[in-house]
Symmetry: C2
Subunit: 306 residues, 2 copies
């Protein structure tokens, strides 16, 4: 194993994402020491009990002291106050990053607090599950998953390549892009799918004529895939929508327009329109499978044909 990329890594927040970074970084020898903190005492206690990091600190200010790499793993809405808290305690030359699902708003929230001698490289690993908390993390979460970086144009090349190597070391495929582009792409691939899934599950919950028990019993027909997405962390997702408002609303507008067109086709009995549309969408699935971004096992492998 080669020398660690960082001597000391500090994780602020100790949920699924941070926990998985801690486990992967230690296993792959990417950091000499990984420390962390969380706002909730219960989370800190759990993390300490299961040995998620080498040391759990009470405060973010203590946790970042002497760290070469600090990663903010808190909901997007908490980034500004955490950045303000830790800014005076960051080591000169340290790299600061985050894992927020939106990037332009995080940069706006964090950058103003940072001293000049700290390098800010925003990141967004496209990985996660519907589970949350320190016990949900696992070392292989980032394997074969993308991690998108949105570094400022003047980022030092060596700082950047070292941080890229850190994510690659955890198995991720790293790409860089500008923050605004990131937010538009993610509105399509993640944010709008989530708000739609939340909505559909909410509608099902509201219907009294179709009882909850029936909705749950007969969910295998499609609905249960929505419930998995709609089981994601509420605080994280509230913050995503509040902080990627423009792109989310734009894509939602497109979605509604298309939905109304299909709705009209159903009302008018225009089977050709429906069939053409459904044939086109099938091709995208093929692209995702060819790109290795999902399994071709039927029902994601939930059922096992022999």
């Amino acid at each position: 194993m080669s020398a660690p990329l960082y001597n000391r890594v500090a994780l602020i927040g100790l949920g699924l994402i941070a926990g998985s970074i801690a486990l992967a970084a230690k296993r792959r020898g990417l950091a000499q020491t990984v420390v962390g903190t969380a706002r909730s005492a219960a989370t800190r206690e759990t993390a300490a009990r299961i040995g998620l990091v080498d040391k759990v600190f009470e405060t973010a200010a203590e946790a970042v002291a002497d760290a070469d790499l600090v990663i903010l793993c808190v909901p997007v809405g908490a980034m500004a106050s955490v950045a303000e808290d830790i800014a005076p305690h960051l080591k000169s030359g340290a790299v600061l990053s985050d894992v927020g699902s939106v990037k332009a708003a995080v940069i706006e929230a964090v950058a103003p607090h940072l001293p000049d001698n700290v390098v800010f490289i925003p990141a967004h690993p496209l990985a996660g599950t519907e589970h949350s908390g320190p016990e949900a993390g696992f070392a292989t979460l980032y394997e074969n998953r993308y991690c998108l970086l949105t570094p400022p144009e003047d980022t030092d090349a060596e700082d950047l390549s070292r941080y890229i190597a850190f994510w690659q070391g955890m198995g991720a495929k790293v790409e860089t892009m500008d923050a605004e582009h990131h937010d538009r792409v993610l509105a399509v691939t993640s944010h709008v799918p989530h708000i739609i899934a939340y909505t559909m599950v909410g509608v099902a919950d509201d219907l009294r004529r179709v009882t909850n028990s029936e909705v749950i019993k007969y969910s295998a027909a499609g609905f249960r895939d929505f419930t998995r997405i709609a089981a994601s962390d509420p605080t994280m997702w509230r913050d995503v929508f509040l902080n990627n408002e423009t792109a989310t609303l734009e894509i939602l507008g497109r979605f509604t327009e298309e939905l109304f067109a299909l709705q009209r086709a159903i009302r008018k009995g225009d089977g050709d329109h429906l069939h053409d549309y459904f044939t086109r969408t099938r091709a995208i699935r093929r692209g995702i499978l060819d790109a290795g971004q999902d399994t071709d096992a039927p029902d994601f492998g939930r059922i096992k044909p022999e």
Copy 2:
């Protein structure tokens, strides 16, 4: 193994659903002989080559001759013409069933063609995958899945219990309900989720600013779950929407109403509304897991935490 429930079962259509019935019925000894036919010569040839059924016939009329149980496994839009074709050839006392995803429209399409000495018991197994065709079938598809029957009120009790035993023999949990209720429940648990998934995938395909390649690469963030649903058979789904128009449009109306409310909350920055909504939907997921209708493995078990 006890005596077969039916001497001869005929399957009209030889895709995923019929193929799985054939394999399950033979393995569990539920039928002495399983025969079938399909409109497409290529499908008939594939089914014969892989030995999906005991005998493949050229026409539906030949296939149903002497069958004690005939199951229509064709798209909903084809039910009427198939029923008309086979009606003169059905054995007296035979049970006729189907596996269509909508029930009121199928009953309306099929029942008028049937002679009085044939027993019609409509069925809808809530099982399937995004794959289709004769090679997609497998014997365990129906295990632990619901099969909903919508028998007419005057159905003979013995005929009904035998047919229930047939599905239970393949591992399914059988429930009966009236056809209109079925169509409303399925609009929520299946039909509207599908039209929404198709729409979202179509929107992504349309966007030129967010290239297809990016949408595919970064699909793991939520979008890929929609693409699996939107990869389902286009003909089957066209027919579902054309034949469950009323319930689909009603639930779509509810969906749009809720979506607009969440959209307004995003625009107004109403974080409490979003957080409350997302917390409520999480509980439904828990209900589905408790009911044994999905796996709690993160990401449906696509990733394997150690």
